[in-house]
Symmetry: C2
Subunit: 227 residues, 2 copies
Amino acid sequence: MIDSETLYLIGAQNMNDNKNISRAVIKRLPRYYTYLKQLQEDGINRISSEELSRLMGVTASQIRQDLNHFGGFGQQGYGYNVAYLYEEIGKILGLERVYSMIIIGAGNLGQALARYSHFRQRGIEVKALFDVKEELIGKTEGGVEILHIDSLEDYVKENPVEIATIAIPKTQAVRVAPRLVALDIKAVWNFSHVDLKFPEDVVVENVHLSESLMRLTYNYNSKYPLN
Amino acid sequence: MIDSETLYLIGAQNMNDNKNISRAVIKRLPRYYTYLKQLQEDGINRISSEELSRLMGVTASQIRQDLNHFGGFGQQGYGYNVAYLYEEIGKILGLERVYSMIIIGAGNLGQALARYSHFRQRGIEVKALFDVKEELIGKTEGGVEILHIDSLEDYVKENPVEIATIAIPKTQAVRVAPRLVALDIKAVWNFSHVDLKFPEDVVVENVHLSESLMRLTYNYNSKYPLN
């Protein structure tokens, strides 16, 4: 029987090898991370691939394959060390850092995002909201001040910003995008309904809610057609 | 040269053959639909695969392959009929119907969704919001009344509901899910941070915002590590 500390060291060695983890596995890591967090909150310290399989609805062999990258864990009759796995996956996902985020758009969506408590757990600090609506300027939302979009350049020059979240309609979004590029912001979380064009060196993650809704209506309509 | 009406008829015949369109193409249709809508709004009636390719950032040959399913369109030097293509793709996506939606959770996210004007363009009518917070009950948000979650069963028995949107924390979501199943609701748009378990006959679309954010931080951190 290998003790917990030895396992930690085996795992830690493997961690130096991040680059060898395939893109496909990386894509699944946020899902594992979410479930491992839940297990920790539920006070569960160890879990077998079979239990994790039932919980996540993927095959146990897929889980063993994926988590195999994390060293000597999940041994027969031993199970995964939840806290360790959670921490290591968090490191790979870049969640040990703190990221400063600004949100462009203080409408309902921007406000919902500013209040999103999950951000802080992921090392995201929402620093400011920006809007054009005079009646919103100077107010605070989720403890974050709403500033006028005209002050975007001044703000970013004085405050380091890693992530800009775009929560405004597409017609405005296409005008804000080049300003973010000019300000050297390298990560954009885009909720507007267009794929905004950014230079190669900007990392972009698009959330197209209406496309998600269309997938839902498509699948529903296929299964339950009107006639 | 084939005239517009003949083209319409060729297209219409092909439309009877929806089943032959592959899942991969179907997955891309919401994206086409979004761009075609934008083109219509911009007053553009025809577009070549090359122009659409530049706009959407996919190859022209991919576009020709995908839209080939829609009959005799996109002929050399002729281009696609934007309005027709938009309408036909909308039919396939089930957007000719009207869907009644309820939103579970009248917090910031639920409120943002209730106000989402894009829903109405997609045939989605938000009928009611549900929450537990006494101070919210009876208020309206985006023209939609907030009801107590205890009245969910009574409401759904009297009002047809196709889609339930879940915009509450996971601990509450796991308790609401079985109630939706018992009420025979067959489409769920899930924003909570868990993959809720539903029977096979329920169509589910998950929107995991924190997973999207983790993909962003992962990609950013890989490209711009701290040291």
